[in-house]
Amino acid sequence: MAGGGDKLKLLSTWFSPFGSRVQLALHLKGLSYEYVEEDLMNKSQLLLESNPVHKKVPVLFHRGKALCESMVIVDYIEEAFPDAGQPLLPSDPYKRAIARFWVAFMETKLVEPWMRMLDGTRTRAEMTEGVKQMLAAVATLEGALGQCSKGKPFFGGDSIGYVDVALGGLLVWVRASEVLLGVKFLDAARTPLLAAWSERFASLDAAKAALPDFGRVIKHAMMRRGAAAAVLAANN
């Protein structure tokens, strides 16, 4: 199946924000890995066998094992390679708990409403509600950034941390959603800290390596939206 030894292999798609999180962590740790592109329209045996529960990317292979769920994988990378690069989580348990809190918040309050909106079958009212929820989540994350960074560049302080990776992986998709939904999520007036953070984050080498091209994501999303709309039209 995945091959053993210490080699790392990542199964993902070029556009997956969750895959980007894992790639960010791997790059920040200076870990080399084999990248395998998955076709989600025609799922591979490898994917179906290694992630039977969710059948989703990313999946990280290491020492003959498959790791699934982006932040579970990031935790694994942090713990399995303690001497690689710098830690994403601080050593203080309280600060670690705060980082985990904000990632949990991001998943339920930002990512969940957003994923619901992306399936292309939402009513106008549902889309409006989803956008409202996302804006509220971003406003809260603005406050979180202020608290966590205390004036420093990242949620992790001077250097990128766990929360930065979790949010940073989503960055291109958040920007793309601004175009697709006609809503500014990272707005210099409303969320100045996050707006500055996102510029700073996007300029990092790790981000350039791990995040997809913005234009390509827009094109892909429009194609998917077109396909979903066609399905909706055909069914009505």
Partner: protein, 248 residues
């Protein structure tokens, strides 16, 4: 008077790790998420002040310690609040690393398995069984029950894969992270049995989990804090009345 006693502070005595003066837990006696934390603290033998919250009349302390969600559990340690049950359990595991066995295993891969399934429990199982409980129509109830049983089947498989299904608990010979993550729902599964005549963990379809549930219920940490199903039942009745009043 009884209500006062229930809402009053309960002191948990312990001979081992001392967190007493500096450690408070805001909880609800039937909240599975609060129960996770109580069991984690019990597992480590840590003493703390337990404060029962009335979620219909949230205290200032709750609102100020968890302004983002305004939910229990909140662990307040040396005046600093820690929220989100799984983050709190990991916090307890890390702060009281010396006191008693580890909640999460040492091996990174085993930790990943535990975290994966705990996330699955929160993302898939919890919405399914609570959706079942809250369903307004037979149709939705049927859908949600199917989802619940499907999730249980995946967890049954997970149990069979951990130590080939031969260990007593997900954590091995003694309970661990995943046992706490799932075990906290047992009082509610008992309540659903009474309310709807359904078995969430059905011995016929999920024999390993059914046996696990019995064993879990017999552990010291479970016996110490898990309420009887009738407490969950009483609370469900209270919730139903509340939801009904919202729909007026």
């Amino acid at each position: 008077l009884r209500r006062q006693a229930e809402r009053g502070r309960e002191k948990k005595e312990s001979s081992m790790a001392d967190g007493e003066g500096n450690l408070k837990l805001l909880g609800l006696h039937v909240s599975p998420f609060a129960l996770r934390v109580r069991m984690a603290l019990g597992f480590k033998g840590v003493s703390y002040e337990y404060i029962e919250e009335d979620l219909f009349h949230k205290s200032e302390l709750l609102l100020s310690s968890n302004p983002v969600h305004k939910k229990v559990p909140v662990l307040i340690h040396n005046g600093r609040p820690v929220c989100e049950s799984l983050a709190v359990v990991q916090y307890v595991d890390e702060v009281w690393a010396g006191a008693g066995p580890d909640i999460l295993p040492a091996d990174p891969y085993q930790r990943a398995i535990a975290r994966f399934w705990a996330a699955y429990i929160d993302d898939k199982l919890f919405p399914a069984w609570t959706g079942f409980m809250k369903a307004a129509t037979e149709e939705v109830r049927g859908e949600k029950l199917k989802e619940t049983h499907a999730a249980v089947q995946n967890l049954e498989k997970a149990f069979s894969e951990s130590a080939n299904g031969k260990a007593a608990f997900f954590g091995g010979d003694s309970i661990g992270y995943l046992d706490l993550a799932l075990g906290c729902f047992l009082p509610w599964f008992g309540a659903l049995r009474v309310m709807f005549g359904v078995e969430v963990i059905d011995a016929a379809n999920a024999p390993l989990l059914a046996a696990w549930a019995e064993r879990f219920g017999e552990t010291a940490v479970a016996k110490e804090v898990l309420p009887e199903p009738d407490k969950a039942l009483a609370y469900a009745t209270k919730l139903k009345a509340y939801w009904a009043s919202l729909n007026k």
